[in-house]
């Protein structure tokens, strides 16, 4: 079973301070984000089932739930805010994969547990921390809460991790390993993360972004909206080498370049870099790539007709990932 057609985005969900939906992402500002209250997952999901769930996973559940609902994959009764979550339709759940990107999500638990053992002993640590010592805790929480039995992957791949997760979600669909894939990029800010990175706590992203990807034919057959179409992807050392590969062979120059930070366009076909998401939310690490894809959806919703080039990582990182997203009309192109 191999899908032949394009892979499309059919749902977006966000758990971010100060921004409610994809349409508002392109206009997000640092001032508005700083003025906004942190996301309170219990307000969005209800308290049930959150007690022993780490904050990164809670944020991911908020964004993931909204993306599944946006894609029309949650039963209608569960789509209303505050209602308890039901699983994705039983028959469909084996066909839904989960792909999470996070670099820092469980660092606070890991470091605090290790520090407690070093100071005292294992008697002083809580066994409830056991799942969170494993870096796939968030992907597992998403699968369990929404009943998603497909492949379940966690990328902790540094600066490019979010875009890598979107690529691999598309790859799982194309390989026939799932019908849909829920992709969530999440990071959380806390004293451990801030201390290890040497940055103030309020400078780092504390939030999540999620998208749903599937084969265009699958989306059309079930009447789902196409929000964007995934184009070429590459992960290579350096911005120039990456962008060159992404843009090789068309289909035309991008109209917008969503970048991780300020950068010189690596060629005449590339418009000026827009590092607005990092400026607004702070360094987003593993969440960035998914956040960028959500912003591209907002960009297309506002009427953009040219492809959007998205890159995560810089020449200072081990590599740069790039992905071309195209606006996707309804029906086959």
């Amino acid at each position: 079973m191999t899908a032949a057609g394009p892979v499309v985005l059919t749902g977006v969900g966000l758990a971010l301070p100060g921004v409610a939906d994809a349409a508002a992402l392109p206009g997000a500002t640092r001032a508005a984000v700083r003025a906004a209250a942190p996301v309170v997952p219990a307000d969005r999901l209800g308290r049930r089932g959150l007690r022993y769930v780490d904050r990164a996973s809670q944020l991911a559940l908020c964004a993931g739930r909204d993306a599944l609902a946006d894609a029309g994959l949650l039963p209608a009764r569960d789509a209303a805010a505050g209602a308890p979550d039901g699983p994705v339709d039983g028959a469909a759940s084996a066909g839904v994969a989960v792909v999470v990107s996070t670099n820092l999500g469980n660092l606070d638990t890991v470091c605090q547990v290790a520090a407690t053992i070093a100071e005292r002993s294992t008697d002083r640590i809580s066994p409830m921390s056991l799942p969170t010592a494993s870096s796939n805790v968030t992907a597992a929480a998403l699968a369990t809460r929404f009943g998603l039995r497909g492949p379940n992957l966690t990328f902790t791949n540094g600066a490019t991790s979010g875009l890598d997760a979107v690529f691999w979600a598309g790859s799982l669909v194309t390989a026939g390993r799932c019908r849909q894939a829920l992709v969530v990029g999440v990071e959380t800010s806390n004293p451990v993360v801030a201390g290890l990175r040497g940055r103030p706590v309020d400078e780092l992203l504390d939030g999540a972004a999620a998208v749903v990807v599937e084969d265009a034919a699958t989306a059309d057959a079930r009447g789902a909206r196409r929000l964007a179409e995934l184009g070429r992807y590459a992960r290579r050392a350096g911005v120039a080498a990456c962008v060159q590969r992404v843009l090789a062979g068309g289909p035309g120059a991008p109209g917008h370049w969503l970048a991780a930070g300020p950068a010189e366009p690596p060629g005449p076909a590339v418009p000026p870099a827009d590092p607005g998401l990092t400026a607004a939310f702070g360094p987003a690490s593993g969440a960035l790539g998914v956040l960028q894809c959500a912003a591209a959806v907002g960009w297309f919703a506002a009427g953009a007709t040219e492809p959007a080039l998205v890159t995560a990582g810089s020449d200072a990182d081990d590599a740069v990932a790039g992905l071309l997203l195209r606006p996707a009309g309804t029906g086959p192109r």
Binding site: T2, S93, A94, N103, L104, L107, V110, C111, V113, A114, A115, I117, A118, S121, T122, I125, S126, P127, L130, P131, A133, S134, S135, N136, V137, A139, A140, A141, A143, T144, R149, G150, P151, N152, L153, T154, F155, T156, N157, G158, A159, S161, W168, S171, L172, T174, A175, R177, V192, G195, L196, R197, R235, R236, A237, G238, C242, D317, D318, A319
Partner: protein, 386 residues
């Protein structure tokens, strides 16, 4: 379709290369030793399966998992006859604990940790000029999930060669949390034993070079298929139904039936729950053929090498297929009742004519991955036609 395993590399408590590791396992030598890197007074468990490469006893250093990974990848490339230049070759690293030990040490010393050193792309870039790299943190199924992704890149024609790897060093948080829940800690890992008391972690790294089957050349074995799924049952406990579904999916994708499988490399962690769930799933899927394949659990000698353990099973299975020798499950005194019908290899290595092997890997969060391997050069027989 199937993919050639053109080269392998391995580093574990029992040896520093594929040859050394396989020789040790075939001889039934265990890497169990008193706990070296952490203060034993803090733990109930006093032993682990560590790689003895620290500068001094009780002195832990950052970056060990990364160092072994580079060694294993270099060995696999050399074995495949490839240069140490991965600028256009994808590298997919499965890991349970990535460089979290480096983060723990940094936090305790009040020292900043560069986030770039928590994943493996940074070191792979420095050593092999690699840019197309992934760190997949999929708990104890990670490196077999990485193998699945590597096969998908080859199937999609995105690459002709892929390096798949796994690596893990003990973290104090994971060793400690397991210690917290294993109140009567095991003296050693005893997979599928009636009196098994839990698992003990081990250090290790492993790598394979996968190539398109039509590239020819010598190969240890072929990968026929790798399945992935998720139990959605419990954060840490396995679910036999999810495991059985993953095994069935792997057989289906490989085009084989349970009766075709000659060897099963068990996930076999030595915990009460894992081994019971794995035995139930095997009994369910294999049915009347449950007594046919040889079964073994190398964690009895390497300890639980976390995310890298599944791919270590792949490398051991490839050697077993090539040599006909299956390493024993050491320390097995009385098989658990649920495994009474199984042909567990005990005490000493067993020789057999092997064509198809299954490798199990299951992790926290209910993530399951199962690989089916075929002996290179084996004639396609019944149930074996691709």
């Amino acid at each position: 379709m199937s993919w050639l395993i053109a080269g392998t590399g391995a580093v574990a408590s029992v040896g520093g290369s594929t040859d050394e590791v396989f020789a040790a396992l075939r001889a039934g030598r265990s890497g169990l030793a008193p706990l070296r890197g952490f203060d034993p007074a803090k733990y109930r468990a006093r032993s682990a399966y560590e790689i003895d490469d620290r500068p001094a006893p009780g002195t832990d250093v950052p970056g060990r998992a990364t160092g072994w990974l580079l060694r294993a990848v270099a060995e696999a490339l050399a074995g495949a006859g490839l240069p140490a230049d991965l600028s256009d070759v994808p590298v997919i690293v499965g890991t349970g604990l990535r460089e979290l030990r480096t983060a723990e040490l940094g936090w305790q010393a009040g020292r900043p940790v560069d986030p770039a050193d928590l994943h493996f792309g940074t070191a792979l870039r420095e050593r092999f000029a690699a840019g197309w790299t992934y760190t997949v943190a999929n708990a104890c199924a990670a490196s077999v999930c990485a193998l699945a992704l590597g096969c998908d890149l080859l199937a999609a024609d995105a690459a002709d060669t892929v390096v798949v790897a796994g690596t893990d060093a003990l973290t104090e948080s994971m060793f400690g949390l397991l210690d917290r829940v294993q109140l009567d800690p095991p003296d050693q890992v005893r997979p599928f034993d009636a009196d098994r008391r839990g698992t003990l972690l081990g250090d290790g790294a492993v790598a394979v070079v996968l190539r398109r089957a039509d590239d020819g050349g010598p190969a240890a074995a072929r990968v026929r298929a790798v399945s992935m799924n998720c139990d959605v049952a419990h954060p840490t406990a396995p679910d036999p139904r999810g495991i059985a579904a993953a095994i069935r999916l792997a057989h289906e994708q490989a085009g084989v039936t349970p009766a075709d499988i000659d060897l099963v490399l068990l996930h076999g962690t030595g915990t009460t729950l894992n081994d019971a769930a794995e035995a139930a799933a095997l009994t369910d899927v294999f049915g009347p053929a449950a007594g046919r394949p040889l079964l073994t659990a190398v964690k009895s000698m390497t300890g639980h090498t976390s995310g890298g353990s599944g791919l270590l099973g792949v490398v051991v299975a490839a050697r077993a297929l090539a040599t006909g020798w299956v390493p024993p499950t050491v320390g097995l005194r009385e098989p658990m009742p649920e495994a009474a019908a199984f042909r567990l290899v005990r005490d000493t290595a067993q020789e057999a004519d092997l064509r198809l092997a299954q490798v199990d890997a299951f992790g926290f969060g209910g993530v399951n991955a199962v690989a089916v391997l075929e002996r290179a050069g084996a004639p396609a027989g019944e149930g074996g036609a691709p």
